[in-house]
Every structure is written in C-alpha cells, then in structure tokens.
Amino acid sequence: SQQGEEDPQALSIQEGENATMNCSYKTSINNLQWYRQNSGRGLVHLILIRSNEREKHSGRLRVTLDTSKKSSSLLITASRAADTASYFCATVRRNFNKFYFGSGTKLNVKP
C-alpha cells in the first residue's frame, strides 16, 4: 500500500496563480521527494527535502516539511499552462531503500 497521500486529488487554476498541494505520510523518513508526471509519460524528479530540513526552494518551487505532522507541501508560484501534470510525493523510509509514492494531485493550469 502507498505510504503517502496527496491533497487535493485535483486542482484547477488560472495561469499566473499559485498552486499548493499537500502530502501526508505515516512513518519516519530519510527524505521526501516530489515528482511530476505528464500524461502518458514517466515521472520526473522535481525537488528533494531531507528530514532535517524545513523548507527548500528551486526556481518557482517551494517545498516545506513538517516531520512532527508528517506532512509536506509543494507550492508552484506563477503557474503556467505547461505546469499541467500530476504531482506525486515520494517518501523514503529510514533503513529502507524503497520509495513510496502517494496517489498524486492532478493539476490543470488554464491559459
């Protein structure tokens, strides 16, 4: 079974708006990663945040991690139509080498 769950399941916004998606997980982790998947394609790594980090930025992406609440959020600022995709969080548990993916947030950015 999957260890992470994203919220919301689907999100529709206008180009230029910010998009926020959340991820909750169940166990202690080494790190948490966010991936993007365009329809019919493979997953592409976006950003990684370690368990001892609280916030990380990469371009228009901002990721936060709250290990006490076992949750993370991904913020995409100034969204573009090309950001339309599904976004997945992946957790890597301590002492394991498996990546557990959530069920994803489907983002639609309208031009």
């Binding site: 999957q2 992470g4 997953l43 790594h45 498996k98 990546f99 993916f101 069920s103 994803g104």
Partner: protein, 119 residues
C-alpha cells in the same frame, strides 16, 4: 542512452498469455526499480535490484511475476499467465547510487513506462 528506455511502450495481451517487459537503464546506474502504476494512481513498488542482485521483491503481487537483471544492466519483468488485473503501466527507474533513498541527492530516473492491457 541518454535516459531510461523501456520497451514495448504498449502491449496488448490476451488473458493467459505471458509477457516480457524490458528496461534499459542509464549506463552505469547500479540501482534499478520496477513500479506498477494503475490508472489514476501513484506508482506501487514491485522490486529492486542493486547491480545483478535482486535485493527486494516484496512488492511482486504473485508468483506469476518475475524480474531479472542477469548482467547488472538491462532488466526484464516477466508476467506469466496474465490476468485482467495486471493491466497497468509498468515503470522502470534507475539511480547511480547504491542507496538512492539516502542523502541529499538520490532521485530516481524513470523511463516512459510500458502500458500493458490484458483483454
């Protein structure tokens, strides 16, 4: 090659047929994962190789599923006597790290997937 290559991209099988899905990871990548992704869901772990050693196969749903990586590069996922519930996209991912889940780097590089439809 420049990225992870999977073949075939699409496979239609009749129930009961055997199928083989191939993954060609990025050259030099020691870790290789197989994932199963049902429609509208996230990827589910199937199995993991470190070079030619299959270190974890706990996600394989039944003994009809078998994976190998005999020379530590190309991997094949074989599904025997396919069932309709096997219909999914099978994703392969690789990493240059022995323990890609640790540290400050360690992302997975995914192929485009093989979409299997069992009729």
């Amino acid at each position: 090659g420049a990225g992870v290559s999977q073949s075939p991209r699409y496979k239609v099988a009749k129930r009961g047929q055997d199928v083989a899905l191939r993954c060609d990871p990025i050259s030099g990548h020691v870790s290789l994962f197989w994932y199963q992704q049902a429609l509208g869901q996230g990827p589910e772990f199937l199995t993991y190789f470190q070079n030619e050693a299959q270190l974890d196969k706990s996600g394989l749903p039944s003994d009809r599923f078998f994976a190998e990586r005999p020379e530590g590069s190309v991997s094949t996922l074989k599904i025997q006597r396919t069932q309709q519930e096997d219909s999914a996209v099978y994703l392969c991912a690789s990493s240059p790290r022995y323990y890609p889940g640790t540290g400050s780097t360690g992302e997975l590089f995914f192929g485009e997937g093989s979409r299997l439809t069992v009729l």
